[in-house]
């Protein structure tokens, strides 16, 4: 440990120059008895202040008005209440879809990939990330259906046997999309549920009343016997490995909706990995925001979620930023170099058209500012600063999707039809999806343990401080 890093890791430790940094600051080396930890998590679920109910009420109101009422109004009146027109036949609904699928990626990435690679810092926040996957996908799915002209006939996209022997068109990228997203929804929900079972069983044993019934049903009679654990571990391993290729494929396929089309700016062969990296970029930012809010508002969370976790997350964000930057330049520079007339028009429109402010913000928020801040350990360890960077990245990524869909659609090969898209009811529906995501998160934070207690406990059992001479060395043993 150099003096610099010691200074950065916290002022209160700076005076203590004789010792290595205190291992107790790491969750894994700061164990608590199981009973106490369980009680802490249970208490965090039961504690609600009046502020919680106020926010919940506001969000519920927004969901009812901006989501259900606005959508119902749109179904009743027709899509003309939105801003879609020729040439921007696709608008903000698909921006929301891509955005929410992007958010949903971080959950799987953190939880499955880090679990497979046994990254220890993931332990306390895998659940929070997995919940983002599920709730994000709900919003993405709803946005797709909002987008359809005749949503009441959307079941025609499913291969349902019918008298006329009409079958969906498997040549269509939208069909692939439907299959990929529904696979991802099913897979990620299973993957959320499996690691939840031991915690639900823990909660069942410690609650009364309707909660007891609720957990009893969901815990599927889990008692924690050796055989049950073995089966659960096998199943979780299976899903952790299986969900990773699904995660990569789902956003690649979403990107193919655009990349397969014959439009300037869209038909780019690098869109697959570019979109996956973009999804991780926004997803990591969202995880940072969620962790900050959890830590700031829920009881006992400062024990579970610590500086080290923000630090590790910040490093991941930094890495993803660099990878995303590479694909950004790859996409735009290759398109510019291609010299196609229509693409040229499009790029000029992006850099100097009326939406140039969005393009410039997108570049700064996603590519320029994050690496300039995230290199510093001090920034990474400041939760509110990391959450702010996460917010900035998410705004930038939303702009990116907005640029790709309605703004790029503005420019096509028929200059006579060029016209700028203006969102109308989409604004309300966007607010509605965001409120619904937050509402689900708030409700669930009081219903299921947001901290995977068994995973933290498992981690703490494998980590120990061994005394070698006078020094205490952190050691990690293999659990399985």
């Amino acid at each position: 440990m150099t003096a610099t890093s010691k200074y950065l890791s916290g002022a209160h430790e700076a005076h203590d120059s004789h010792h290595e940094e205190d291992p107790k600051q790491y969750l894994m080396y700061d164990p608590k008895p199981r009973g106490e930890m369980n009680a802490m998590v249970m208490e965090s679920m039961h504690t609600t202040s009046w502020k919680f109910w106020v926010v919940l009420g506001v969000l519920a109101f927004l969901v009812v008005t901006c989501f259900f009422f606005a959508w119902g109004y749109m179904i009743d009146e027709g899509l003309y209440v939105g801003g879609v027109m020729r040439p921007a036949y696709w608008g903000v609904f698909l921006v929301n879809t891509v955005f929410w699928i992007g958010i949903s990626h971080a959950g799987t990435f953190i939880s499955a990939i880090l679990r497979v690679f046994k990254a220890e810092f993931r332990r306390p926040f895998t659940r929070a990330a997995e919940l983002m996957t599920t709730f994000g996908l709900i919003q993405a799915g709803a946005s797709i259906f909002m987008h359809m002209g005749r949503v009441w006939l959307s079941y025609w996209m499913f291969p349902i046997p019918n008298a006329r022997q009409l079958w969906p068109n498997f040549h269509s990228p939208l069909m692939w999309d439907l299959l990929a997203i529904s696979t991802y929804v099913l897979g990620s929900t299973m993957y959320l549920f499996l690691p939840l079972i031991p915690d639900l069983a823990m909660a069942r044993d410690r609650s009364t009343g309707w909660r007891k019934t609720f957990y009893k049903i969901l815990a599927l009679g889990f008692r924690g016997t050796e055989g049950e654990w073995r089966h659960l571990t096998v199943a979780m391993n299976f899903f952790a490995f299986a969900i990773i290729p699904v995660m990569f494929s789902v956003h690649t396929i979403v990107s193919w909706d655009f990349a397969m089309a014959m439009r300037p700016g869209w038909s780019s062969s690098v869109f697959g990995p570019y979109f996956v990296l973009g999804a991780l970029h926004s997803g990591m930012g969202a995880v940072a925001m969620v962790l900050f809010v959890m830590r700031a508002t829920m009881k006992h969370m400062d024990y579970f979620i610590r500086k080290e976790h923000f630090d590790a997350l910040g490093k991941l964000m930094l890495m993803v930023t660099f990878a995303y930057t590479y694909f950004f330049f790859n996409d735009y520079i290759v398109q510019w170099y291609g010299g196609d007339k229509a693409t040229d028009n499009l790029l000029h429109w992006l850099e100097e058209g009326p939406m140039a402010w969005m393009f410039i913000q997108f570049v700064f928020f996603n590519i320029v500012i994050p690496p300039l801040l995230l290199w510093s350990k001090k920034v990474r360890e400041t939760p509110w600063l990391l959450a702010l960077i996460g917010l900035m990245i998410n705004v930038g990524m939303y702009w990116e999707r907005y640029l790709i869909i309605p703004v790029m659609l503005t420019i096509n090969r028929m200059p006579f039809t060029w016209k700028l898209f203006q969102p109308r009811i989409e604004v309300f529906l966007t607010i509605g999806t965001f409120s619904m995501f937050l509402l689900f998160y708030m409700i669930v934070s009081r219903l299921i343990p947001l901290i995977p207690v068994w995973e933290v406990q498992e981690g703490q059992m494998t980590h120990s401080l061994r005394k070698v001479g006078k020094a205490k060395l952190p050691t990690i043993s293999e659990f399985e």
Partner: protein, 258 residues
């Protein structure tokens, strides 16, 4: 004969299919931009009147439009020929494979792009993928918009309903539509010819836009019959096809700078 152009080794067949069956030529040198074709098309095909606001926002329901361009900056402006743009009935259409429910298939009998209104669910992917931007979407039930009707003795009446063509569907909201090459007229002529035991003659019938064109800039007919007027016009040296580099095999030939 139909050939699946998606098959490997269909290259030769593509050149053959490029010809198509029904086709059109539009002489830009004699087009005056009078919009008679636009009006005739709207009447023939029951196109909806969308009102001023929606038309200004880019939601016009026109299957054919007159595109007007110019060179240079004001006041040194040089007008270029008017360019009527309609569905090119591509032989290798980008709109067809992207529909998830087969609402826009290729007709093997007519060699045209069909739009099945009943099947359309409104994903609008076809319109996005159309390089010519000629598809129009029914953003609302424009035929029964209250603001566009007349109030007579307390009841809302729509005088324009009296001129609806009974041979053509009135589209409801949420479906895509586009130029059909007046397929109802094609079928009528074919039925008549069949009942008289003969082939459809060249010039026996034409599309609404061609019929209405006062300058006779639009010619419609069989492009696979070398002696027909349309194929003779199309094979002139001044014939060009739009966005040919995309390999869409358009059936409409534009004649200009003759």
């Amino acid at each position: 004969m139909t050939v699946d152009l998606n098959l490997v080794g269909a290259k030769g067949a593509i050149a053959e299919a490029a010809q198509g069956k029904w086709g059109m030529t539009i002489d830009q040198d004699i087009c005056t931009g009078c919009q008679a074709c636009v009006a005739a098309c709207a009447m023939e095909n029951n196109l909806a009147f969308v009102g001023e606001e929606d038309a200004g926002y880019g939601r016009t329901q026109h299957w054919i439009r007159i595109e007007r361009f110019w060179d240079g900056e004001y006041p040194h402006v040089q007008a270029t020929p008017f360019q009527p743009m309609l569905c090119q009935q591509c032989g290798h259409a980008p709109c067809e494979p992207v529909c998830p429910v087969f609402a826009t298939p290729h007709s093997p009998a007519e060699d045209l792009n069909l739009q099945v209104y009943n099947r359309c669910v409104g994903t609008r992917y076809c319109a996005n993928n159309c390089p010519y931007q000629v598809r129009s979407f029914n953003w609302r039930d424009y035929h029964t918009v209250p603001e566009l009707g007349n109030m007579v003795n307390g009841t809302l009446v729509f005088p324009l309903h009296n001129q609806l063509n009974p041979d053509v569907t009135v589209r409801r909201r949420g479906v895509m539509e586009k130029c059909t090459f007046c397929i109802q007229r094609i079928h009528k002529a074919q039925d008549k010819a069949k009942s008289e035991g003969r082939e459809v003659e060249d010039g026996e019938f034409t599309t609404a836009c061609a019929q209405a064109c006062p300058a006779s800039a639009i010619t419609f007919g069989r492009v696979d019959h070398p002696e027909s007027l349309v194929s003779q016009l199309a094979h002139q040296e001044r014939g060009v096809k739009h966005l040919e580099e995309l390999n869409t095999l358009p059936r409409v030939t534009y004649l200009k700078e003759g």
